[in-house]
């Protein structure tokens, strides 16, 4: 037997052992999860429609039920913190964007769980505690392509402030929507400090229509009430797929983005079910289902389905502390509400 053959046989044997070990590990986890009651509870801001395929596939594969409570990142944090402090955490897994995840981690809500699925991600998307960002929300300007003709499409962020768009822009309220606070506060990373500050000031002076968060803003762009909106670029795909709605986005040299993470509760009532769900959620199979819904996931070959996304340059937003968010919020309150 040649050395090469021996090496190959050895490799096959090692891989088989690893696979058997992994399978027995999975079986052990699932058996423990079933003994806990056969269900996992997840709180998150990931849209229900996006999670649903993953949830159903996991339930079919393992027989473990997933109960999902969906709210905005702020409300997810609020509820998880309230339950944790009262000593009655009901969640096993939390799924939301980085800022609230970090604040919850600092309050002791999570335990580090290094899932076998982490191996599928590249180091640049990894966080030491949470592991991979399973998706990125990429922010930009959306517009109704039926109402804004190609020749009139704004070419830059500043273009949406031109008189011709007066009364046609909708944004989410920066005094109650944390993500737009982060977006405004990070614009300097793609525009430069002076341009970014001027843009926010001028936007406030233009008195755009204000709604509670990004999705109601995008909806108003679709209905045509205000054809230009701030929002996530993935909705160009999702709105088109679900409704055939005419949304497109402003092409910019670079875009701001923010990672979404998932973590296991430190006092999870069903820790094994939570781990099993987290393993599946971060597996290629799970992430692929999320990508199918139009999400921007950082796995090779699963690029976003939005036209032109292959050329996106995405700059990650800086993390803001609770105090920084409060300060920025007060600053924007003065700008947009005049008090």
């Amino acid at each position: 037997m040649s050395k090469r053959t021996m090496f190959l046989l050895g490799l096959i044997a090692a891989l088989t052992l690893i696979s058997v070990a992994a399978q027995s590990q999975d079986a052990k986890l699932l058996s423990a999860a079933k003994k806990e009651g056969g269900k996992a509870v997840a709180y998150g801001s990931l849209e229900t429609e996006t999670l649903e395929p993953v949830q159903k596939a996991f339930e079919k594969k393992t027989g473990i039920k997933v109960e999902y409570w969906r709210a905005s990142g702020t409300k997810v944090m609020d509820r998880a913190l309230s339950e944790f402090r009262a000593g009655r955490p009901l969640y096993d897994v939390v799924i939301t964007n980085r800022n609230p995840m970090v604040l919850m981690k600092e309050a002791g809500l999570f335990t580090r769980y290094e899932s076998a699925s982490w191996k599928g991600f590249t180091p640049d998307v990894m966080d030491d505690f949470f592991g991979p960002a399973y998706r990125y929300n990429v922010f930009g300007i959306l517009y109704n392509s039926k109402l804004i003709k190609p020749a009139d499409v704004p070419k830059s962020l500043e273009d949406i402030l031109k008189p011709q768009y007066k009364g046609k822009v909708v944004i989410s309220d920066p005094t109650q929507h944390t993500t737009i606070i982060e977006w405004f506060a990070n614009l300097h990373k793609i525009m430069g400090k002076e341009r970014a500050e001027k843009f926010v000031r001028d936007l406030a002076a233009a008195k755009p229509l204000m709604v509670e968060s990004f999705l109601p803003a995008a909806r108003r762009a679709v209905t045509g009430e205000t054809p230009i909106a701030t929002g996530f670029l993935k909705w160009v795909y999702t709105f088109s797929k679900r409704e055939g709605a005419p949304l497109d986005y402003l092409r910019e040299p670079s875009y701001l983005g923010e990672g979404h993470f998932v973590a296991l509760g430190s006092k999870a009532p069903h820790p094994n079910a939570g781990k099993a769900f987290l393993d599946f959620f971060l597996s290629r199979e799970g992430v692929q289902m999320i990508a199918e819904e139009g999400e921007f996931v950082p796995l090779k070959g699963l690029g976003p389905k939005v036209p032109g996304s292959e050329n996106w340059k995405v700059v990650e937003m800086d993390l803001l502390s609770g105090a920084e968010i409060k300060k920025k919020r007060n600053e924007y309150k003065k700008l947009f509400f005049g008090s």
């Binding site: 702020t74 309230s82 944790f84 402090r85 209905t223 609770g322």
Partner: protein
Amino acid sequence: MNDKNAVAARAPLLIRWAFPLEGLSQPFNWFVIGLIGVLGFLALYPSAFLFYGSLVDAPLGVPGHYTLKNYADAFLDLEAYQLMFTSFVFGIGASGFSVVLALILSWITIRTNAPCRKLFELTAIIPNIFPPLLIAISWVLLLNPSNGLINVVLTQVFGLEAAPFNVYSVPGLIFVEGLILTPLAFLIIAAALKSMDPALEESAKTLGSSEIGVATRITFPLMRPAILAAFTLNFVRAIESFDTPAIVALPARIDVFTTKIFREAVGSFPANHNLAAAYGVGLLGIALIFVYLYRRFTSQIENFSTVTGKGFRPHQIDLGKWRYAASSAALLLLVVMVVFPFVMLTLTSIMPYYQVPTTETWQTLTTKHYEYILQNERVYRAFGNSLFLATVGASICMLLASLTAYVTVKTKIKARGVLEGLVFIPWAFPGTAMAIGLLWAYVNFPLPIYATIWILLIAYVTRFIPYGLRAVTSTIVQIHKELEEASVSCGAGFYSTFRRIVFPLMRPGLFAGWIILATIYMREFSASIFLYSPASEPLGPLLYYLYIDAMHGPMAALGIVISIVCIGLIAVAQHFSRWDAK
């Protein structure tokens, strides 16, 4: 009445401090003590948590110190008073508008011979089955200045340069909230009109007064307490409402006090529940003043209901040829209050995505939003939860309300005021603040009810007893004492008299209240949002998340289905109550 029952009915037994043991020997006393115990627990347990939370500097579960800082942050801010003023204007406008609409409708449907008046009576009830969130969204689609359907039509028909209406304004806010509040005002005013003794009006007519003279000099002065009661109740509801200001006022940067509470405390990052509790307690003080006024006015209504237990029919005015004008006015209200929102919801539910309808729209109509909700397991679960909460919750609420009404109307015991106060305390808190109190109270309750459907049931019953109480009080006040005395003299005890005499006579009011409560519970939102878990999700939060996930098609389809189910519930309840025959 024998001696024992006479004591039971009249003596302030709970408070008969001089003869405590004698008092406790009566079954009726135990009943009153039990009732006060149940209502006291429901009202005071979460309220105490809310008071406590407003006085400490740390969230529940974290060791903190007593402080007045939350009150200082909430009420040393000048902006709070400016917003209170805006809320005040909004409250007066919306409740005034709702009372005017309710008065017109109830007068036409109950006191005139206008054609189709039974149909118009539904005008005042049906809007109650539309979730307020959807009514507000419908009016945004109709009256927004950019492409609101009414504005588009009027601009095109009359060649106007600018949209004539702008829903994003204080008048727009008042208009939408006024429409939402009208059914409750109608319930109060219509009940008073139906129970009014016709003798006074007949005397005026005999003395030569015209129909208009009777209406202006007799009917409306007699109605004044009911009008003021409806006004104060709706005023409190308006200043505490959050849904309509969030959808209609925010786009125009109009802030009211409840949006400030949300912005500064509940929806801030991170949320500050202690500050929200301080705001809630502050608003409670204001609301309780109006609750006191409301109770004064309603007790006056009861004094004017000079009914002796003998059957009567309210005096009906022959409008002559004007009866068609009256029907036209009622029809216009029907169109504004029912047809417009219903058409907008239907359009949104059958278009792939809502846009201003054109001739091409008809080719794209779809049933996919209905298919989505009919195939969605989550929708079925939410329907199951809400139907349970509506039927069981409304029944428990009406049981407590009828027992409370019996004690407060039919007895002279001193604990009456305590009972009424207990009923109104949870209602006088803003919904979101009360939900925080309920969350704090029940998250660590010895029984494992947190995040189950039972905590929602407790929340719904706790918060909405005043509505049930109003409906049932207007009926119970008409039941003359002689009927109960006859029962007692035939040997029946308190429970038998209540079950066999009082309860059947209370049935119309009982079912009217049940209908109002069941329709509110079918789409309750502000308390549910803090308290539900995925397994106990009711329809209100589901509708809200379809809204924030921008799934307006499925949201509208679900709204239509909820409305149809509510109509079914009303039909069943009416069948059992024959309440419209009274």
